[in-house]
């Protein structure tokens, strides 16, 4: 394929190609619907013969997240992908990564739950992703792509953020974006870092103590005073991320009387619903959070000043709506609309909800 060529592919395939192109050092994953194309595409592309990227099909999601832990602990750009029940299994590894401050990328192509649930799309893992998910006080950066293009673009962005802050990054996609085919321009080729570049970027990594003192990558500290200091350090880091890394997009908000907040595939449906509302003369706009953590609370609070109502549109029972309520602090009515169990709402259902909000 040519550079900048417009291609037609699935979101899952785009992630695999983007990983090879952005200098990813390793992928470790276990098959689960609806994201198995990521591992399959990598297996077909054989990047170990071109860029030297390592690809391993692990024995479980527990193993794959710990392979990411092990690879990230040595300073390598490594990733895994899974879907909801698999990501539930990974929570142990993610909290260890957060504690030991290990960078890495976890892609969650969400499906409906709870339990084994369904293989159809869902956004039911919002709480799991934005609240930590595992044990202890921690956060991870959560990016929500709304297109195949963003699934490709967010791979490099995730690694940049993960290494800037030594933090795991979750790309929270869903079965719609993962499986649908759209046009995409893949990111330009970037070579993997040399050992020298890596050692310079990651002086903390455990990769053989050449010309330096030994490094220990651990989340354990038995002295409570030292452990509290480590927690304070983590919280300060999270505060900095909240100040600097909030990302969102506004759509037709300038004159909007009503605001829809939606992320990922729900935002695509909401966009269509807004066109239908506008045709009926209802002035609706949308704020699409790109980072779910840190959440764009301030931007929502600002838009709430001139809004008569806010609709949180999610493909779940109502999770992000709590963050919106926290952001607006009761200054405007906040509603939720969502479907569950793998059902994706139609734009007409959203129009109906906006009209209800008007009454």
């Amino acid at each position: 394929m040519e550079e900048n060529e417009i291609l037609l592919m699935k979101g899952n395939e785009a992630i695999a190609h983007a990983a090879i192109r952005c200098g990813c050092d390793g992928y470790f994953g276990y098959p689960i619907t609806p994201q198995s194309e990521i591992l399959e595409t990598l297996a077909v592309e054989k990047p170990w013969e071109t860029t030297g990227m390592v690809v391993v099909q692990a024995e479980s999601e527990l193993a794959s997240i710990n392979m990411v832990y092990g690879g990230g602990a040595t300073g390598k750009r490594v990733m895994t992908s899974s879907s909801s029940p698999g990501v539930a299994l990974m929570q142990e590894g993610i909290t260890y990564m957060a504690g030991a401050e290990i960078p890495g990328l976890i892609v969650n192509v969400q499906r409906g739950g709870p339990g084994l649930g369904t293989i159809q799309p869902s956004q039911g893992d919002y709480f799991q992703s934005t609240r930590g998910g595992g044990n202890g006080d921690y956060n991870v950066i959560v990016l929500a792509p709304a297109s195949v293009q963003e699934m490709a673009d967010f791979v490099d962005l995730s690694f940049t953020l993960a290494f800037r802050y030594r933090i795991p990054v979750i790309m929270l996609s869903d079965g719609v974006i993962g499986q649908m085919m759209e046009k995409v321009v893949l990111p330009p080729f970037k070579p993997r870092r040399t050992e020298e570049e890596l050692r310079q970027e990651c002086p903390w990594a455990a990769n053989g103590c050449k010309n330096r003192k030994k490094n220990i990558v651990t989340s354990l500290e038995l002295d409570p005073h030292a452990m509290e200091l480590h927690n304070i350090h983590l919280q300060e880091k999270y505060k900095e991320i909240k100040e600097k890394e909030v990302r969102y997009e506004e759509y037709m908000t300038e004159d909007a009387e009503y605001l829809i907040v939606a992320f990922g595939s729900a935002a695509r449906i909401a966009q269509k619903a807004i066109e239908l509302c506008r045709a009926k003369g209802i002035r609706v706009g949308m704020l699409r959070p790109i980072t779910l953590w840190p959440f764009p609370s301030q931007a929502i609070k600002t838009l709430a000043q001139k809004a008569k109502g806010i609709l949180s549109m999610e493909i779940n029972a109502g999770q992000m709506v709590e963050d919106i309520q926290l952001a607006v602090q009761g200054c405007v009515p906040v509603f939720h609309y969502g479907r569950m169990g793998g059902i994706v709402p139609t734009p007409e259902e959203i129009v109906n909800e906006v009209e209800k909000m008007k009454q």
Partner: protein, 254 residues
Amino acid sequence: MTNQDIIQPENLVYKKPTLLNDNPMHYCPGCSHSVVHKLIAEVIEEMGMENRSVGVSPVGCAVFAYNYLDIDWIEAAHGRAPAIACATKRLWPENLVFTYQGDGDLACIGTAETIHALNRGDNIAIIFVNNAIYGMTGGQMAPTTLMGMKTATCPYGREASLHGFPLKITEIAATLEGTCYVTRQAVNKVAYIRRAKAAIRKAFEYSMQGKGSSLVEIVSTCSSGWKKTPEEANQWMEDHMFPYYKLGDLKDKA
């Protein structure tokens, strides 16, 4: 003649390996861990791999192994060390990568990670310290606890109908195509210590030669968990552990 006059390079027949630092060890008197730590330090030094070694420490008594050996370390979640080592080695093939695990970590909660890392033939060495008990949490039943042996969670002795049987995971490892070297050693006598050191050296060398995975089990004591003096524990190990966990090489693809 003073001591300082005697301590001259030409008179030295033994010294503490430089990789083993002076941090006071938290291990109980009579514990086998400290001897195994020393052997690993000696082997890494003799191989000249001081700057190219990464150890993966477990959850269990050896969780703090990283405090005593001056190489790079990654602390694993319980049982996950072999998965971590798999990625660490594949991403840094020129590094010596080994895990250091106990029986609960390796043969119970981490059985899947152990079997699959060994079966993939990852070029890593697994050092497996088997003392048939959970030491760090206070002496509970382990997968390798012997029949009839008393622990905090089988206070009347291990019984097949209640607890199943002691797991010979090293024998299982020997059947896997990915393993190149599987052996069972001990460190309670000088002759055993020498053999154990040679085994660790062989496992480390095979991993650097790309021959596949190695498993070195060290049958060990836990005098605190077994509620015995160090001397009694050593005797009990010889009388009860060795007949079930037989010492020697189970596999060597030289």
